[in-house]
């Protein structure tokens, strides 16, 4: 049994999601290898080799992999698949984009967003926005899956895997990268933030989000949002937390002016401590909140900022 974990990275740095996927792969049993497909990504390969439990890192350094385009990356993974019994990709947007393409090319039914490895062929995964958990046994010879990173702790470092350069596969040449508009922020990214403060429709305008950012900066937190806040244009799309956005599980999640629709809860209800600030005491968010503050957020948030200042934050 050998598994291939596909690294999530931006050519410069290895994303933490990779070490979490390694934990899932280790649970399958057998050896774990990592594939780093990218452009100018040697440092990523070296970082991947330090993850504990990894035997070998394959680095495919080629211009066609620089932007993780689905068609060439899937072709590369398929070309390597013969050596592996399992292919594991973190459920990032790259993982969700590329893995099903690989699975179909190999005639395998993919396991999406695996949250627990029960055995080498049996897995748990959420369905219906996490309102039900399905346990499925795969009869495919190869297991191909995306794993929900909030469900697996990151594998430690201290590994010393061999790093092997591999050549590129043939580029299908049917798609090309044009441009990117990335949200710039000095705050921690949502997937790895220990604290997240999120705003919803109740924030009324993007102009009010600095209220939350001030608190975020005191706490070293990331800033998220509900779909309603994103749809209304208050904040960029990549802030969205929920069933169809990002799934997070920080130590502390503070929901401000968010009602707590099931689609939102799906993305945050595994947080350790949940705080809700909402003026409607009937809001469903209070049913999952450890600490609820029924108040107008336009008073409560500045007060919270002041109180945090009093304890030296």
């Amino acid at each position: 049994m050998t598994s291939l974990v596909i690294a999530e990275h931006d050519n410069a740095e290895l994303n933490d999601a990779t070490a979490k996927a390694v934990t899932a792969a280790v649970a399958l049993g057998g050896d774990v290898n990592i594939l780093v497909a990218g452009e100018g990504c040697a440092a990523v390969g070296e970082a991947a080799a330090k993850i504990a439990g990894v035997a070998k890192v394959l680095v495919a350094d080629d211009a066609q992999y620089g932007k993780q385009m689905a068609e060439p990356v899937a072709a590369l993974i398929v070309s390597l698949a013969g050596d592996y019994d399992a292919i594991v990709y973190p459920a990032t947007t790259n993982g969700k984009n590329i893995t099903p393409r690989v699975a179909a090319l190999l005639d395998v039914m993919q396991l999406s967003e695996v949250t627990a490895v029960v055995s080498a062929d049996t897995f748990e995964r959420p369905i219906y926005a996490g309102n039900a958990i399905q346990t499925v046994k795969s009869s495919d010879a190869k297991k191909i899956m995306t794993v929900r990173t909030t469900a697996f702790a990151a594998a430690g470092d201290g590994g010393s895997a061999t790093v092997e350069a591999i050549s590129a596969a043939e580029n299908p040449g049917i798609s090309e990268y044009v441009s990117e508009e990335l949200t710039k922020s000095d705050r921690p990214e949502l997937a790895s933030a220990k604290i997240i403060i999120s705003g919803g429709r109740g924030m009324q305008s993007g102009d009010n989000f600095p209220m939350l950012e001030k608190i975020a900066d005191k706490l070293g937190a990331g800033v998220g949002a509900s779909r309603a806040a994103v749809d209304a244009g208050f904040v960029p799309n990549d802030y969205q937390i929920g069933q169809t956005g990002k799934v997070v599980a920080p130590e502390l999640y503070i929901a401000v002016g968010i009602s707590g629709a099931i689609q939102h809860l799906a993305g945050m209800k595994d947080s350790k401590v949940i705080v809700a600030i909402n003026k409607d005491e009937e809001a469903p968010i209070f049913q999952v909140a450890d600490f609820g503050l029924v108040a107008d957020l336009f008073n409560a948030v500045p007060e919270l900022e002041e109180e945090l200042g009093k304890i030296g934050l």
Partner: protein, 249 residues
């Protein structure tokens, strides 16, 4: 260009689903069913392409039981031209759906297939990518903007860090994300008109697709329940509680 849009009948997004006591699945009896919201967005996008003169015909297709025909009718009432109903009572996995859709695409020769990025029942997020792989076409997933550019298609995608724009050869598969558009409601006259639009009846056998599941569902269970906590009266009390819980300070 001809546009093909697959649609799925799912439990309405407003319904709180309940797991069956025997753990065989979720309760479907007497539950409101609707078109998967992402598929509504796909149908809407196809209609907008037709209104803009880019698309010439919109064919909607569903794989599912008799009642899935209602979902096709909804799409036809929104503005699609005709439907294909691949009738089956079996649970069909995304891979098998993709194989059926590939066969349908073989007969219909669309230039663009717009698939919802995920169905809100199984949350798989696979069918569009699998279909594009099987066809050997490029894929523009999680699309928030689609624009024909000569003989290519520009697709802006919602990715983890923001937005990415890619250019695809046609034919192509696009999967729709929430910000692609806001779907219209069908008007009453259009609902009446839709009743006369043609729907082709097919079966998976017509396309020689084996539906045998690869994933055997062993059980479906409730997630761990979260207990509601306490209400605090002031921001000061909240900060004190968070300190006590060891999550700040």
């Amino acid at each position: 260009m001809k546009v093909l849009v697959p649609v799925k009948r799912v439990i309405d997004y407003n319904v709180k689903v309940r797991v069956k006591a025997d753990q065989s699945g979720v309760e479907l009896a007497n539950v409101k069913m609707s078109m998967n919201p992402f598929d509504e967005i796909s149908v809407e996008e196809a209609i907008r392409l037709k209104e803009a003169g880019t698309a010439t015909e919109i064919v909607v297709v569903t794989v599912g039981p008799q009642q899935a025909q209602e979902t096709l009718r909804t799409a036809l009432a929104m503005g699609a031209d005709r439907g294909i109903h691949v009738k089956t009572d079996a649970e069909v996995e995304p891979l098998a759906v993709a194989k059926i859709l590939k066969a349908v695409a073989g007969e219909e020769s669309p230039e663009l297939i717009i698939v919802g990025k995920q169905a809100i029942d199984d949350d798989s997020n696979q069918t569009g990518q699998m279909l594009s792989a099987l066809l050997g076409w490029p894929q523009g997933t999680f699309a928030s903007k689609v624009e024909k550019d000569g003989d290519k298609l520009n697709v802006t995608r919602e990715i983890d860090g923001g937005l990415q724009t890619i250019k695809l050869n046609l034919p192509a598969v696009v999967t729709s994300d929430l910000r692609l558009n806001e779907p219209r409601y069908a008007s009453l006259p259009n609902i009446m008109k839709a009743k006369k639009k043609p729907i082709d009846a097919k079966t998976p056998e017509d396309y020689s697709v084996d539906l045998t599941p690869r994933l055997q569902v062993q059980k479906v269970t409730e997630p761990a329940e979260r207990q509601a906590g306490i209400k605090v009266e002031t921001a000061a009390e909240l900060v004190a509680k968070l300190k006590e819980a060891g999550v700040i300070g």
